[in-house]
Amino acid sequence: MSLPIRESPISKPVSLFVTCIVDIIYPDTGMSVVEVLEHLGIEVDFPMAQTCCGQPAFNSGYRDEAKSVAKQFLKAFEGAQIIVTPSGSCAALIRHDYPTLFADEPDWEVKAKRAAAITWEFSEYLVDGLGVTDLGARLSEKRTIALHDACHGLRLLKLKSQARALLSKVENAELTDLTECDMCCGFGGLFAIKMADVSGAMLERKVGFIEASSAQDIITGDASCLMQMNGGLTRQKSTKRVRHLADILAEGLKK
């Protein structure tokens, strides 16, 4: 199923969709996104009416509830020209599922299709949208990092090369491997609590590979995966952490 083709976002202001998890648990990551975009001279605005994209309800089978929350999203982003979000899974829902979710409500379907056509995940916005890979970022000391490919972004939005391209240009960042980097961490939204034992088993495997990797930091593009993996790492008393791509890029931009 092909996604709607998007116009170039160059020279357009960005409306930031920060996502519910970043909003209430990792607001620093939201700030990092803003810092990176403003460093590139992008005008960023933040529609205050935003809450969530509706994914928890949609993924659990509650279409009506998903629609009610999605409508809030569409209202909040009514005037947006470009929407950027630091989450592959939220971007995938908007691009992949919003149009069909509103197939039976023509007025909302128009808004949904527009949103799908102007939404960009953070790393693809920079690399594919703006054509930027080198932010001029530099970490204060050498760091070995590896990437975890968050599932929805990887499989629905084909995100893989973008984050690697951005990180390869960060001075002092050394990219190494994470075994099974494209295997699910076990979050899966409410799956993590509904099927907690399976989620825990998947996390156990992921944490094992993180510990075995020579990387000090694992970088990923989805805060939800981050929550799952760091929750497991701290429980195992590991010193390793998973960080959001935006955070390490913003760190590299600090003077």
Partner: protein, 467 residues
Amino acid sequence: MQNQSNNFIALSEVAVQDKTMRSAVVFGTGNASTRRLASMYAAGEAHGEGLRQQGAEAKRRALRKLPELLELAESNLTANGVTVLWASDAAEANAHVRDIAKKHGLKKAIKVKSMLSEEIGLNGALESAGIEVVETDLGEWIVQLSGDHPSHVIAPIIHKTKASIRDLFVERFGMTPTDDAAEMVAFAREKLRAEFLSADMGISGGNFIIAESGTLCLVTNEGNGRLCTSLPDVHVAVVGIEKIVETFEDYATLTQTLTRSGTGQLLTVYTQMINGPRRPNEMDGPRQVYVILVDNGRSDIYATEYAAVLACVRCGACQNVCPVYRSTGGHAYGWVYGGPIGAVLTPLLTGIENASPLPYASSLCGACKAACPVDIDLPKMLLDLRRDVVEHGKNGRIWDVGIKVWALGNRSQTLFKLGGIAARLGQKVIGQRLPEPLAGWTKYRDFPEFAPKSFHQRWAERKKGTS
């Protein structure tokens, strides 16, 4: 087979603690996935994807034309000397096989692996009628000897270790203990030879039926497929109606993507194309070939938005890449088919009320769709089945209520903000002791702290210049 799928959560809780089984499953599935990637994409990414789409299109076309192709297949099979029978459900299919045995006075059947036969409970039905049934696929034979069920569509004992098989052979047959796989296989081979030579009926499934030529196609690696379908005088094949393909070219594509996706082989060791019983001038082959075309819920699926799942060629690639399947093994799914295909087929074939947890037994990572040689959109089907579970009221009240409350809190920024404040305050009191159903989180991980200020607040302050 009795459906235990509604117990998935309990079954999976037990399963994930079985480290030996998990290790065996991870090992077997990992090998198969590595081989699949190497063989499917041996001529490059674009070529591999092209093959997938070619096979997917062949199956899509076959499904579009299914009613017509079934009639064509019947006509051509019959012209080839095959007796074609139809079975609307398991009972009818099993009755056909019993009647055939009775008609020809058959007492002992040797069987090629067939997941459909598991689905319809054929072995039990035959044994009740006094017919001895011996599985001849090594894995299925071991399953039969240990009173177990297959846990994977092509590797029935992927959940077992070599040591446990050794112990089974020692206990059952007094085999001299050995850990050498070749020795154990040689031992099994000798035992199975005796079974092959003493049977009067061969039973198989069918991987494909080519409609345009009336050809029954099988893929096997062990030689048991050849022996079962040519040694006894009577060969009976039970085949799902969705296994029809239109042309030889379609079959040629699919038999290669099936084997590459399943085991990483370019072709299996034995690739059989059966065009009927022995002809007057031929020296061997069965004198009677029966093909029983079995519905057992497939035409019901055909009439729904899930029709595309009937393209499945039972390669097991989805099971091999599924992180859920690799954590629990196949038995936790509670029925014949596990993994992603099982999570979709089980509710569709046995009723959503009998398998309500299965569509949720997935993190929706999408690895299955990427691995499927016929490009079935399993993640989309799982999402749609979840919608169906909710509409049937089978997801559980705690979720119905919980999601409604959550949606309420997300429909407006004001309520969202209030919810955030409540969560922050609540966390100070309860810490890591989350209420149900959220408590599952802290069983395996720490829950992060809610930030003292939300992004909304930080942005507002930034705008005011007060951050």
